[in-house]
Subunit: 343 residues, 2 copies
């Protein structure tokens, strides 16, 4: 049988363990998987683009476990009452190819994207950082805030969104969690005085939600909303005076902020920082950018964490996804045993 | 909610409607989709190869519906009590990216592979064909026999497998269905006198289960077991004196029998035959080969047929795969509404 964590299980799991504990646990799994980056089979995700949006499959594998995520991105969905991003994912056993774990990943992707930002901010932000900014207060915003606070202790939050309702929603959700929140009047206002600036907007355009003059020495930028060809968030000039860190270079060249730069624009893969193969932040005035597009290994880590965490709990059910005939060569007999064959 | 057809639903569905009716219905869906071949987004499947086997994702899409299948192929599985191939698949709505239908496809793949063979045999085999041969009597064999009979009326069956137990199993399953079965002493013996020869073996090697001297003028070969790089079934010389039909040329050059031939080896895509853009069989003595590797559009057709066929029946359940917050931008609030957020 295949274990299945549905939406209801997922929210009960979060309720039981709490966002911050889950983010911390997930960061540990992410770090452990990023440190063994070279043991994974990696490929750019497989994307199906339409005028409405994109549907992607994101596979990766180590020697024991195969994982993939199905995820869509449809920027016009919220206006029609749907979410921009929904997802689900699967873990399979490499040795026999059987799918062993299925989970909703709409919520889990929000957690893993935030946990990834937190893992990176912990390494690249200035240790004395006290304030973070959020440009874009959609579905990701609260998760990002909690994850970064969990990793860095930062409690001061400056938020901005073109949609006042989205800002009010973010404030309403985060205020009870003891964030000190400032509602900014523009993206530049939000960024002013922030040590860590997260851009998480959803427009499917080459937007510039943050201009070069909003950048201050020593900032760490966490650019997560630019994640498709033709979908970026930053004034490209910002990249020229910063050090850019990515997940998986071939994918980020297609989908990240650096799609607006020449193919030889210098980047550092973050796993190299974690393993000491490349420097992270090297000065107090350096601007660091995590040009994040989301990579399959992060989903692998998140699914692995979820699988381990729900083991022994009631937060999953077993589903009958794989036929298991007594004689593996007798699939036909297996079908017939349940149902007399007729013409 | 997402509709889910599990293994139990699948076997009850087959029991209700019967293999032959289902194969016929599926052939209609396949033909309708092959005829509009050019309206699909097509790409070679994404394969993860290990020493144990392969795990593949097979996506395709038309303007309305996206489909993908997860499928493994592990030749050493049966010796360990597992099936060589297991699969599941998903249909999604292109307009909003939401997954709307999930189904087991271990059984459904067997049905769709057989229905595809039947669709092709109906076009390419000589109309006066009376006898078919099966080289390899594993999981696919009974489905192939029933599908081809359903499409051509052929009832005489010559079978061969290196595993006597697999032959006995095939005979045991098919005899009650009124096939006239001859158990051959070799692959060549099985092919002798057959008008349609189906090879469906599972070795992960460049095997030659059928040699050139077993081929007779006018034969139609249905080569379905060669479906991975380094996994072929036919003596390559057979191809030189035959007309070769494929599903999707770029994928078949990598995975089909023609991987043993130069990259410019002439082939015809089968959809062209169906639409009249290319000739099928042009003489009574011509040898035709369907170098089948399985293509995503076939899974699209099979899933679409299943979805339509189970609609209004009890052969599916609804699962909670996609979170649906009242405010699509408030995923965090959705989680919190079910579970007080804690540290």
């Amino acid at each position: 049988m295949t274990r299945f964590v549905d939406v209801h299980d997922m929210v009960r799991w979060i309720g039981r363990f709490g966002h911050e504990a889950i983010m911390s646990g997930m960061v540990e799994y992410l770090e452990s998987d990023f440190k063994r980056w070279q043991s994974f089979e990696k490929s750019p995700r497989v994307a199906s683009h339409t005028p409405f949006g994109v549907i992607e499959l994101m596979p990766t594998s180590d020697a024991d476990t195969y994982a993939f995520k199905y995820v869509n991105g449809h920027p016009s969905n919220p206006a029609r009452g749907f979410q921009t991003v929904t997802a689900f994912g699967v873990l399979a056993d490499v040795q026999n190819g059987y799918p062993v774990f299925l989970a909703e990943m709409t919520v889990l992707t929000a957690l893993r994207t935030a946990a990834t930002s937190a893992m990176v901010a912990k390494q690249l932000a200035r240790p004395e950082s006290t304030t973070m900014a959020l440009i874009g207060t959609g579905s990701q915003s609260e998760f990002q805030s909690i994850a970064i606070r969990s990793a860095t202790g930062i409690n001061k939050l400056r938020i901005w969104d073109t949609d006042p309702d989205a800002m009010a929603k973010c404030e309403r959700n985060l205020e009870p969690l003891n964030f000190e929140i400032y509602k900014a009047s523009s993206a530049a206002d939000a960024a002013a005085g922030a040590d860590i600036v997260t851009t998480c907007t959803a427009d499917k355009t080459n937007a510039q939600v943050l201009h070069k003059d909003a950048i201050r020495p020593g900032m760490h930028l966490n650019a997560i909303g630019g994640d498709c060809p033709g979908k970026t968030e930053l004034d490209p000039d910002i990249l020229d005076e910063a050090t850019v860190f990515v997940e998986y270079t071939p994918q980020t060249r297609i989908e990240g902020e650096i799609q607006n730069k020449p193919a030889d624009f210098a980047v550092t893969e973050f796993w190299q920082v974690l393993t000491g193969k490349a420097p992270g932040r090297t000065s107090e005035t350096q601007v660091t950018i995590f040009d994040s597009v989301g990579f399959a290994i992060e989903d692998f880590s998140a699914l692995r964490y979820l699988r381990d965490s729900v083991d022994g709990t009631e937060f999953f059910e077993e589903i009958d996804l794989v036929a298991h005939p007594d004689d593996p060569k007798d699939l036909f007999g297996f079908v017939g045993a349940y149902s007399p064959v007729g013409g």
